[in-house]
């Protein structure tokens, strides 16, 4: 629509517009903060949408207890530095039942420690709107989702019956218990996110940059041994390899890639030449064909 704005400026303006709209059209919003690069950009845009006022909603992090340690450090530093209201929620029942990505299988683990945990936290906080940092270019079922996406009282998404979303008019009418998820970065690509991080000089988790890290190779993928809970096979020993991560999550489910990229410039250059998508490293995307859609129907972000 713009006459003179650059592409990044236009994306920024659109996202800020969406965030302001969502807050004005809800009672009790929350921002799902997952610590990665997309969350970093989303948080920055949310701050800019209301500056110099403080952020008018809390952040929610679903802590599976299996996140990279550097992510948790980054999360706590960020919350402290910006004076944010951060809610951290863990599915205690799952934790006590010993659900883990190694022993329970990635699908069941994701259901309990991510999806169920998220639903618990959203219900407990009585949040009627939740921001997520998902982008439509990430994955096929995300490419199908509305920017303002309706959820029933059980947090479920019905992909076959989405509300029409015309122009920039967002129908957020809902009954008690129902909610809306809002994806202000819908129109951003992975490249846009990095270009913005570079231009705005935003801090990201150091795991995005290449460094010697202790890894083991499983099915051709490189997993970082982030703590002593990583069950090594007999005779298996972590070796130090120079890797970085394109997406972050739970360390047993996020594979790294060999890389020399030390700076955001390096990352951008690497992206110009790379031949694989960022989601190659995400184990849960490959559980079955339409796996993300099923998780989303159940309430996953």
């Amino acid at each position: 629509m713009s006459r003179t704005l650059s592409y990044l400026d236009e994306l920024e303006a659109e996202s800020i517009f969406l965030i302001r709209q969502a807050v004005a059209q809800s009672e009790n919003p929350v921002l799902l903060y997952s610590i990665g690069k997309d969350s970093t950009v989303m948080l920055e845009l949310a701050l800019r949408a209301f500056a110099p006022m403080p952020l008018p909603f809390p952040l929610l992090h679903i802590d599976t207890t299996w996140k990279f340690r550097e992510m948790i450090e980054f999360r706590d530093q960020t919350a402290k530095r910006l004076g944010l209201n951060l809610i951290v929620h863990t599915n205690q029942e799952g934790l006590h039942a010993g659900v883990s990505p190694f022993s329970s299988g990635s699908a069941r683990y994701t259901d309990i420690m991510k999806t169920d945990a998220l639903k618990q936290a959203l219900s407990a906080g009585r949040f009627d709107l939740a921001f997520g940092g998902a982008r439509r270019d990430e994955e096929k079922s995300r490419a199908k989702e509305r920017i303002f996406s309706f959820r029933d009282a059980h947090h479920r998404w019905d992909p076959r019956n989405q509300r029409p979303e015309l122009w920039n008019l967002f129908n957020t009418k809902k009954r008690v218990g129902e909610s809306i998820r809002v994806f202000p970065l819908s129109n951003w690509t992975e490249l846009d996110v990095w270009r913005y991080i570079q231009r705005e000089d935003l801090a990201v988790v150091p795991l995005y940059f290449a460094q010697e890290r202790p890894v083991v190779e499983r099915n051709g993928q490189l997993f970082m041994v982030d703590d002593e809970r990583f069950p090594l096979n007999p005779g298996e020993r972590p070796e130090f390899r120079k890797i970085r991560f394109r997406t972050l999550g739970c360390y047993p489910l996020s594979a790294g890639v060999p890389s020399e990229a030390q700076t955001i410039e390096d990352i951008l250059q690497e992206m110009e030449t790379t031949r694989t998508s960022e989601r190659v490293g995400r184990v849960i995307d490959f559980d079955q064909g339409a796996s993300m859609e099923r998780k989303k129907q159940e309430g996953y972000f």
Binding site: T4, E12, R20, R136, P164, L166, L169, A290, E293
Partner: protein, 615 residues
């Protein structure tokens, strides 16, 4: 390469089922190097398992991301894909072809700047082709390309292409003569499956001199028409100096500019403006800003900020085009929640002005507008708004109809022009008004609206209540639904449309009587929540007392004072409430009378108790 300098084009692909929309986009992504190796490998694997391309790579699997779509080989909802070439960035909406998913196609079309309407060279122009061309031009997409696909199956034959091309151009012609403005129309031959004419010129189609699809997309001019400043306020940052947030929808704004506000009509000076990161001296169309004015005014969300003199005259009555999006058809008389850039309101459809037929695009008279149908209507908005013709300014001329029962987006509207009733039919202010009339009567006017099944006891109770009020010296009037049907409403039957009108007239009559200062009792089955709400909004806060006369159906049927249940059971009365037409229970009535086991006098007393101190 620096992505920042590039322009963006939002476009959509549409057309009938199996005309190859998803295949075209998938192949375009592959040809422009916008697919990663793992995506291609995955695609090849899935093509052999699920593909419908006869051994070729099935590019549609890249876009049909929902499980149901992949298994049925169809597109249900719009998918958005992002790709770039050295010249431009693209956001493409791949939209479904099935008629039943037309509303999802409209979703993709609403923000598009160009459209590729696919046509199968072997089948030619189909009804869905015509429907999509209609919706594209109605949505104001300025660049349309009919992409004649499957030229390989048509033997790369120029005569075949020319014949289809003629048919496509004819679609454009008939749109024009039906009063639409389809903008630029081009016809391009391709083979989406084999890739001919997608990005480069094809030897198979050497006789074609025009651009490839990609060339066409890369060269469309996307500069929007220049407009004076328009901004709708999104919110207020409550600092010592209030900042009003919003996105510049047209024009630009600079520090020191004079701007005119809607609805206050005041003109103020922009003292400062802020961008995402810092204070600015000027901001352009598309920017999200926060404005500070030199006067502290009462400005709120939904207010408009315009260049001085550029505020369109606020109006309540508009001629609009509609795309209907829910199963329950649109009929005149229905009202909905209204959503536009100017904040909430109600909208009532005063009259349907016809429905566009797909074959000819001619407008024929219609009693209703069904799912996926396109028509014209006159609507009344509950407060004056500065809406503009959609063709002139999209954001200021578009709105949603939201169903008040289900909260669903029931349809969308595009303003054609304001209607002049507001100017010509002036509301006369007279010296004696409602408060003065009421004062003389020593009472507060009020309407007691009794709703409930036929035979629930509404008339009996109203009668008892009125007698008691009369004896206490109150000035009253009783409107009985049955009696009104002998006079004021005698031209109305029992179709849905007539029932809505029956309630509207009864409510308006009650309103006139409260204006006269009277206490009014209304007995009407009024089975639909929405209609009771329509009545309620006519009255002032606290003036409308909804009484639910809650008698179980079995009891009403046992009483059957007018013998109507018997007739209804015998199939002689269609649409009889409780038997073959629903009664929607009031959610929050002022008085809920559970009649079982109580005498009429006891029940009347419950109403009188409530009214004590309110009259």
């Amino acid at each position: 390469m620096n992505g920042e300098e590039k322009t963006v084009l939002r476009f959509l692909t549409c057309g009938s089922v199996d005309d190859g929309k998803s295949t075209l986009i998938g192949h375009l992504l592959a040809k422009t190097g916008n697919l990663y190796d793992d995506q291609i490998a995955n695609l090849e694997k899935e093509s052999s398992q699920l593909g419908n391309a006869g051994g070729q790579v099935d590019y549609s699997l890249l876009l049909d991301g929902l499980e149901a779509e992949r298994h049925q080989g169809i597109t249900i909802d719009v998918a958005y894909r992002y790709f770039e070439t050295p010249k431009r960035k693209f956001i493409v909406a791949d939209t479904p072809g099935h008629e039943q998913y037309t509303r999802n196609m409209a979703t993709g079309a609403s923000l598009a700047q160009a459209a590729l309407i696919l046509v199968d060279a072997t089948r030619g122009v189909l009804p869905q082709t015509r429907r999509h061309a209609l919706i594209c031009s109605q949505m104001g997409i300025p660049h349309l390309a009919f992409v004649v696909n499957k030229m390989d199956l048509a033997g790369w034959n120029q005569q075949r292409f020319d014949a289809v091309r003629e048919a496509c151009l004819l679609v454009g012609q008939s749109l024009l003569s039906a009063g639409f403005n389809p903008g630029e129309i081009t016809v391009l031959p391709v083979s989406a499956l084999l890739g001919d004419q997608l990005t480069t010129h094809s030897d198979n189609l050497a006789w074609f001199q025009g651009p490839s699809v990609l060339e066409w997309l890369e060269t469309r001019d996307t500069t929007p028409p220049e407009l004076p400043l328009r901004l709708a306020v999104q919110g207020v940052l409550k600092l010592a100096e209030r900042r009003y947030t919003g996105r510049i929808l047209g024009g630009s704004v600079a520090q020191g500019d004079r701007v005119e506000l809607f609805p206050s009509g005041k003109t103020v000076t922009v003292k400062a403006l802020y961008g995402p990161k810092k204070e600015l001296s000027k901001a352009e169309e598309g920017a999200s800003v926060a404005l500070v004015f030199d006067e502290n005014l009462d400005v709120e969300r939904g207010d408009g900020v315009f260049a001085p003199g550029a505020v369109p005259p606020p109006n309540e009555l508009f001629k609009v085009r509609i795309v209907w999006m829910q199963n329950e058809p649109l009929i005149a008389g229905r009202s909905f929640d209204f959503q536009s850039i100017y904040g909430p309101a109600l909208v009532e459809v005063i009259r349907l002005d016809g429905r566009f037929e797909l074959g000819s695009y001619q407008k024929n008279s219609a009693q209703q507008l069904g799912l996926n149908e396109v028509g014209e209507a006159v609507v009344l908005i509950s407060r004056p708004l500065p809406l503009e013709p959609y063709g002139h300014f999209k954001e200021g001329g578009s709105f949603l109809f939201i169903d008040r029962k289900t909260n669903a987006t029931a349809g969308c509207g595009m303003v054609l022009h304001p209607m002049r009733r507001s100017q010509n039919v002036v509301w006369q202010e007279h010296a004696i008004d409602k408060p003065l009339r009421a004062e003389l009567l020593h009472q507060k006017p009020l309407v007691v609206w009794l709703t409930g099944l036929s035979g629930s006891g509404k008339s009996t109770l109203a009668d008892l209540v009125e007698r008691s009020l009369y004896n206490q010296g109150y000035k009253t009037m009783l409107l009985d639904g049955d009696n009104l049907r002998h006079g004021l409403n005698k031209d109305l039957g029992f179709t849905e449309r007539d029932r809505v009108e029956n309630i509207r007239r009864s409510a308006e009559a009650a309103k006139l009587l409260t204006d006269a200062g009277l206490v009014v009792l209304v007995c009407l089955i009024s089975p639909y929540r929405e209609d009771r709400k329509m009545a309620r909004v006519l009255f002032e806060q606290g003036e409308f007392v909804e009484v639910w006369v809650d008698t179980p159906l079995e009891e009403c049927e046992r009483r059957d004072p007018k013998g109507l249940y018997k007739k209804a059971r015998a199939g002689l009365l269609p649409n009889f409430t409780g038997i073959n037409s629903p009664y929607e229970k009031p959610e929050e009535p002022e008085i809920h009378l559970k009649t079982s086991g109580k005498t009429p006098e006891e029940l009347a007393n419950e109403i009188l108790e409530y009214l004590k101190g309110r009259l």
